[in-house]
């Protein structure tokens, strides 16, 4: 099922302040979610991700704008009639019901000709439990399960009625690193198997990049960029998106353009044809550095960290906007000294220029 958001805006009354002000949680959001894809909704805390999900599932009504499931306008449809499945950040499993009862709960509410017999419900529940590999735990209470198992019960409960749309609100945030990896692979597998249009909220960019067909990057209630993960990474629209994606994050310098050349302090690192003289943010991805004695960029080494295949050089530069800059290079190229100066040449495609004021990208354009 295709999901379309048309100019969705959501305002809340801000009760914290004495003179009630309005708080815009989602601002004029337009989004086209293709059928059967997994979308990663990504952004820092408080940017409106959960609010967006709540609007899609119907728990919140948008202040303005329209939502379509396929060709149907569902803007005024209450959540119980939208037929979506949702996994909450805190799972919201009913603590007094067993795993089986939790999973059959959505089926018991089906009405009319969709009504199922007890036997059918149990079969469907078992099927869903098998999908998440929990069929051996049907008679347990949620409190008798591990965090990861509870997580999977929540997914089974969301899947059991075969929803048209599956919404996941930071479903992996309570899991430890290993389980997180494992569950996210599982989620991806289940989504591929069932072909359910899925929206996955996270503030972990790595998670979003690794399993999404498309990612949507949000900042302060506004969508910054939508695209295939690699495209958004390579081709960020602005400094925020560039900084938000990638670990370790992009290194940012306060640079300057003089006579169509990019200067970092005294180091002239790049030609920038067609751009007038001005100050710019220069972003360089960690993998954009090459150790090269004759290179243009001179940095002071702080630490050299060897991490198996790669080596990470932590160094500093006078015009860097952060205290240290981090570059990742092949271990063979590692500089002999672990102190002193290191010179880099740069991979041209990994250098991005952003306007000083608007922070929009100006190079490459």
């Amino acid at each position: 099922m295709k999901v379309v958001l048309e100019h969705i805006t959501k305002r809340f009354i801000d009760r914290n302040k004495k003179n009630k002000t309005e708080l815009v949680a989602v601002s004029d959001m337009c989004l086209d979610i293709p059928d059967g894809k997994l979308i990663g909704l990504l952004g820092p805390s408080g940017c409106g991700k959960s609010t967006t999900l709540n609007i899609i599932c119907g728990l919140e009504k948008p202040s303005s704008g329209k939502i379509f499931f396929g060709d149907d306008d569902v803007t005024d449809l209450p959540p119980e009639n939208r037929g979506v499945g949702m996994v909450f950040q805190s799972y919201a499993l009913y603590p007094h019901l067993t795993v089986r009862q939790n999973i059959t709960f959505p089926l018991e509410n089906l009405k009319g000709d969709k009504k199922l017999t007890k036997q059918e419900m149990n079969d469907r529940a078992l099927g869903a439990a098998k999908l998440v590999q929990l069929d051996g735990y049907m008679e347990r209470k949620p409190s008798e399960l591990s965090g990861g198992q509870q997580q999977r019960v929540a997914i089974a409960r969301a899947l059991v009625k075969m929803p048209k749309v599956l919404l996941l609100d930071e479903p992996l945030s309570n899991l430890d690193a290993r389980l997180r990896l494992q569950t996210r692979e599982e989620l991806r597998r289940i989504q591929k198997e069932t072909g359910i249009t899925t929206i996955f909220v996270t503030h972990d960019q790595e998670e979003a990049m690794s399993i999404s067909d498309l990612i949507v990057v949000m900042k302060k209630a506004e969508v910054q960029q939508v695209g295939i993960p690699q495209d958004v990474y390579d081709d960020p629209k602005n400094l925020f998106v560039a900084q938000f994606l990638g670990t370790p994050p992009i290194n940012v310098f306060a640079g300057e353009i003089r006579e169509e050349k990019v200067y970092l302090g005294e180091d002239c690192i790049l030609d920038a044809p067609g751009i007038e003289d001005k100050e710019v943010h220069v972003g360089i991805r960690p993998e954009g550095f090459i150790v090269d004695e004759n290179g243009p960029l001179h940095c002071k080494i702080r630490v050299v960290e060897v991490m198996g295949r790669d080596t990470s050089i932590v160094s500093s530069h006078p015009v860097a906007e952060t205290e240290t800059i981090r570059s990742i290079i092949d271990s063979e190229d590692r500089p002999a000294a672990t102190s002193g100066t290191v010179t880099f040449s740069l991979r041209k495609s990994k250098v991005l220029l952003f306007d000083m004021e608007t922070e929009e990208r100006i190079y490459p354009c």
Binding site: L59, P78, P79, G85, F88, A92, E108, K141, K161
Partner: protein, 296 residues
């Protein structure tokens, strides 16, 4: 007994002494009294031991009347008051505007003196030379014949009595249940709505199981409290409850000790022990049932 254990008992000592002195000792004492025939306060003497006191009490028509009144009242008021409290709490929880105002109104009887409430009930129900009471005015408005609720037929008096008890215990139960309902995580309702549950399903499958421990608590304490009621009857029917036929077990005990026919501590003790046995039995049954039924 190791050192730590000893320390534990030592810490508990003041509480044990206090409880023992003021609770266990009197209970044992009453138990002993109840087997001593013809005990006399003044001379501290008695004429023999045995079950005569129990036999007397159980054959005393006043006691049987009190027992019947009490049990009838308990059976009527506990389920009704708990049910009403649940309904009112649900209604309170589902309205937003004026909730606090309503909560205050419902709580007022709790902070009002029993006797003052009794006075109000008099005005509502009592027949005087000047008026038939508000209740009778309503009855005649709908074409019924007026009834004397305070000095009239047994069922009318029982009705007023139960009405009064329910009225008095309702605020506390509402208070407990509204806070129990409010403490259910709204996340569950959100999840249930997305799973297509209607409001009745949500009540049956989420609210009720989640507040069931509180409901059982209210039923158990409700039984105990109702069995011990006395001042409520006095507030409505005056101090001569035997004559009014509206005595309660505790009222009977009091009368046996201090009433006009008083001065019979042995009979009073026997009656008190019977009450204790009844309350204990019901509480044990309640606890067993609630252990089986309560969900967590």
């Amino acid at each position: 007994m190791n050192n730590n254990n000893l320390k534990g008992w030592l810490y508990l000592l003041p509480a044990i002494v206090f409880l023992g002195f003021f609770m266990v000792y009197p209970l044992v004492d009453v138990f002993i009294y109840s087997f001593e025939e013809g005990y006399n306060f003044a001379s501290q003497s008695y004429s023999g031991t045995g079950l005569f006191n129990y036999s007397f009490v159980l054959h005393d028509p006043y006691f049987m009347q009190a027992l019947k009144n009490t049990i009838l009242m308990v059976i009527i008021t506990v389920p009704l008051s708990t049910g009403f409290a649940l309904l009112i709490s649900l209604a309170l929880s589902s309205i937003k505007p004026l909730r606090n105002a309503f909560q205050t109104i419902y709580f007022l009887p709790y902070v009002t003196n029993t006797l003052a409430v009794g006075l109000v009930f008099m005005i509502l129900f009592k027949k005087t030379p000047y008026s038939d009471g508000l209740a009778n005015m309503l009855i005649s408005l709908f074409g019924g014949t007026s009834v004397d609720f305070i000095e009239g037929p047994y069922w009318a008096k029982m009705f007023v009595f139960c009405f009064y008890i329910i009225w008095v215990v309702l605020p506390f139960k509402i208070l407990i249940l509204t806070s129990a309902i409010a403490s259910v995580n709204p996340m569950y309702y959100k999840a249930a709505r997305i799973d297509g549950a209607g409001s009745f399903t949500m009540f049956k499958k989420i609210t009720l199981p989640m507040i069931s421990p509180m409901i059982f608590y209210l039923i158990i304490t409700g039984f105990i409290g109702a069995f011990k009621s006395y001042s409520d009857a006095v507030a409505l029917f005056g101090t001569d409850l035997n004559a009014a036929g509206m005595n309660t077990i505790v009222g009977y005990v009091y009368d046996m000790l201090y009433g006009d026919s008083g001065g019979y501590p042995s009979y009073a003790s026997a009656a008190a022990i019977i009450l204790f046995a009844v309350v204990l039995t019901i509480t044990v049954i309640n606890l067993t049932v609630s252990r089986k039924r309560a969900v967590y």
